[in-house]
């Protein structure tokens, strides 16, 4: 399934809103392996680039090419938002929702929900309303819902930005497991520690453009640009 979508190639891709360019032009090529982490200061365009690739932001210039048809590619990907968007339903109903949309029977969907709830540690909360979960639990639920359809690619927009260390570790564990099972993950974060822990490849964004892209180890050990070096050190980069 992974090979169907990748490589993903962005050629001069950009998105604007009301005449203001949010990100781009971006030239980027991603293969179907591991975890790619987008880093950069606030306003660098991480979220916009994720949305552009996912198709929820309008492409206003350039082009995005998948290895397969765009509509088909969208069927095999999902998105986890920075602030989890949960349906006003129970945990179980949130998990079964994407499956039911795809015509999976109620019974099968419930089985899958139970499996994923177990996997992310929400088994005891299946019948609870999603609104009563803690922040970490809500994000775990959102990630489980994104993974339940077995997508080839998952975009995660700062999935741990408002969580404490323990919840962050749990979520990173879930992501690592998904990666090990062959799911391609593209994650945005401004947490350098997290980027070091989970990234296979780093895309450093600055001013709405890709400033530097490299394998994670190379990026952190030998950043090619002064801005990347400053950002890694924790200096303010604008």
């Amino acid at each position: 399934m992974v090979t169907e979508l990748f490589p993903l190639t962005l050629s001069g891709a950009e998105t604007s809103r009301r005449g203001v360019r949010l990100v781009g032009p971006v030239d980027l090529s991603l293969d179907g392996q591991g975890m790619c982490v987008l880093i950069g200061p606030n306003g660098a365009g991480k979220t916009s680039l994720l949305r552009l690739m996912h198709g929820t932001a309008r492409l206003t210039g350039g082009q995005i090419d998948w290895a397969c048809d765009r509509t088909e590619a969208q069927r095999h990907q999902s998105f986890v938002f920075q602030r989890p968007i949960l349906l006003r339903r129970s945990v179980e109903e949130n998990l079964t929702y994407p499956l039911r949309l795809r015509g999976v029977s109620r019974l099968e969907a419930r089985k899958a929900a139970a499996k994923w709830a177990e996997r992310v540690g929400l088994s005891a909360l299946l019948g609870n309303r999603a609104s009563v979960l803690s922040g970490g639990e809500q994000q775990k639920l959102a990630i489980a819902r994104a993974l339940i359809t077995d997508p080839a690619l998952v975009f995660l927009d700062e999935p741990t930005s408002s969580l404490d260390g323990r919840a962050t570790r749990e979520i990173e564990g879930i992501l690592q497991q998904a990666k090990a099972e062959g799911t391609r993950l593209i994650v945005s974060t401004h947490d350098m520690g997290q980027a070091r822990r989970i990234a296979d490849r780093i895309v450093f964004l600055l001013g709405g453009k890709v400033h530097e892209m490299a394998p994670a180890r190379e990026f952190f050990d030998q950043p090619a640009t002064p801005e990347a070096r400053a950002f890694i050190k924790g200096d303010i980069v604008e």
Binding site: Q74, R75, S78, I85, L87, R88, Y97, P98, R129
Partner: protein
């Protein structure tokens, strides 16, 4: 005039008007006679209402059931139109969308008498739908009520669905959900708020008198409902009976509201 009215409702006039023929006259103490007439009217209304209910007055039951039948039928039809319409307006962007919403909001204040008049013209023998022979039937009353409550339900429902759509927008777009599935999801997840919209529609329908008086004609045993009966009794000076009917109407409206709240579990499970 006042003297006559009071004599009538005290049962002293000897005249037995309308279906009130088997209602028993009540005896008032001197203290009651000397009290404010409005208070006496209220008290007498309550007593008569109680009496009519406990004796299971057949005509009252017939009128009350007709009121419920007409309004609940209108409510169901109105919900079938208004709820999908409001969901459509929430999720779909089209050129005249804002105009449609503005018109819908404006139509909430539609004067029932005018609706009644228009429906009357359409259904009258010489009107475009005169061949259907619906004028002065409960069906005509249902049609009028549907026209009156659709904008109300749609507007209130749209407010709720619009807020929910703002909350769900990114998720549903990301999940590649079809327009129909979006509407389905919104309608299901906002069902409690929609219940409130439906109850507002029910409230307006059950208390409506102008339009249904015109298109129904307030015909005994055919189109007379609680509100038109109240109007009739008030016109006849039968204030106590009118009040009794009013109390029954209020009780009916409250009962239906409470029943729907109970069935819909509106106040359970906190927010969701």
């Amino acid at each position: 005039m006042r003297q006559i009215c009071k004599r009538d409702f005290l049962g002293l006039s000897g005249s037995k008007q309308g279906w009130h023929s088997d209602a028993k006259p009540f005896n008032f103490s001197d203290k009651e006679r000397q009290g404010g007439s409005a208070i006496v009217d209220l008290w007498e209304g309550l007593r008569q209402a109680f009496w009519l209910v406990v004796t299971l007055d057949a005509e009252l039951a017939d009128i009350a059931l007709r009121s419920l039948r007409v309004t609940l039928t209108a409510l169901i039809i109105a919900c079938l139109i208004a709820l999908p319409l409001s969901a459509f307006l929430a999720v779909r962007r089209f050129r005249w969308r804002r105009g449609v919403i503005a018109v819908l909001n404006a139509l909430m204040g539609l004067p029932p008498v005018v609706v009644g008049l228009i429906v009357y013209i359409f259904l009258s023998r010489s009107g475009p739908l005169g061949a259907l022979g619906l004028l002065f039937t409960p069906t005509a009353m249902i049609v009028a009520q549907v026209i009156i409550i659709v904008p109300l339900i749609a507007s209130i429902a749209h407010q709720s669905l619009r807020d929910l759509w703002a909350e769900y927008h990114d998720l549903l777009i990301s999940l590649n959900v079809s327009q129909f599935q979006k509407m389905q999801t919104l309608l299901w997840d906002a069902r409690r708020a929609l219940l409130t919209a439906a109850l507002a529609g029910f409230g307006r329908g059950i208390g409506e008198v102008g339009a249904i008086m015109i298109v129904g004609g307030n015909i005994d045993n055919a189109t007379r409902v609680l509100t038109t009966a109240i109007a009739l009794e008030t016109g006849k000076g039968q204030f106590a009976l009118a009040l009794a009917l009013g109390f029954i109407l209020i009780a009916l409206a409250l009962s239906v509201n409470l029943a729907i709240h109970w069935v819909g579990q509106t106040e359970r499970d906190s927010r969701w």
